[in-house]
Amino acid sequence: MASALINVPAKAKRGDIIEIKTLMSHIMETGYRHTAAGEVVPRDIITSFTCRFNGSEIFRADLFPAIAANPFITFFTTATESGKFEFEWIGDQGFSETASASITVE
């Protein structure tokens, strides 16, 4: 089913600005397409993406149908301490997925 790809450096120096890359497999059906019979294909997108580090939110995004299938999002954060990044995707039709990645800060 749904699967996530996360790219977080395993190690970083304190104070480094690191890039985090995320990809979640998802069709991102816009709700604007229709079948040959003329029925509208219901919208099925991820509406929200959140990244938390050691429990506190560091990045959040609202997504719309204009985001391509398999949403790929990259952003930056400052490495302050060792810990765990937690990623959460929430979407239409009860979609909810999580992933996590650890980092060692020296």
Binding site: Y32, H34, I58, F59, A66, I67, A68, T74, F76, T78
Partner: protein, 158 residues
């Protein structure tokens, strides 16, 4: 002859009126593309009517796109990310997709760098607008024109 002219005029007048009547519901029921007015109102929803200055924001999108289904987009804001003065959020809009919004990204001083990348869909050649909101409440923006060869399949039958 006179009689014929007037009936022809009446006919054209009636036909024109009918065409106008027929056109109105088509326009109102078809949300095929966001209009510049919708773009403006989506921007107003974010800024609350505050002035938006040009500058600081950089939008990196290929000027010529072959496939509108997946277009790489990178937005960055040339601004320090200090606790007392940083970029709070970045909002991206388009002009001609069915909806004016593309994405909203919320950052903080811990972000270190105000830069976000993603991949978007474009239904037509159009203008893309990025707006950044700073912690002092000011708004900065930039826009780019993108030419799309193969549009994203908004109306495609599957």
């Amino acid at each position: 002859m006179q009689q014929q002219d007037s009936t022809r005029r009446q006919f054209l007048g009636l036909a024109g009126g009918a065409a106008v009547l027929a056109a109105v519901p088509i326009v109102t029921t078809r949300p095929a593309e966001a209009t510049p007015a919708e773009l403006a109102s989506a921007i107003r929803n974010v800024t609350g009517g505050a002035a938006v200055k040009a500058g600081k924001v950089k939008l990196d999108v290929p000027p010529l796109v072959e496939n509108g289904n997946t277009v790489p987009l990178m937005v960055s804001v040339n601004h320090p990310m200090a606790p007392e003065d940083h970029v709070r959020s970045i909002h991206i809009f388009n002009e001609k997709n069915p909806q004016p919004n593309i994405g909203n990204f919320y950052l903080g001083p811990h972000s270190g760098r105000a830069q976000v990348s993603t991949r978007i869909r474009l239904a037509d050649s159009q203008k893309i607008v990025a707006i950044a909101r700073l912690s002092d409440g000011s708004f900065w923006s930039t826009s780019v024109e993108v030419v799309v060869t193969l549009a994203a399949c908004t109306d495609e039958v599957i």
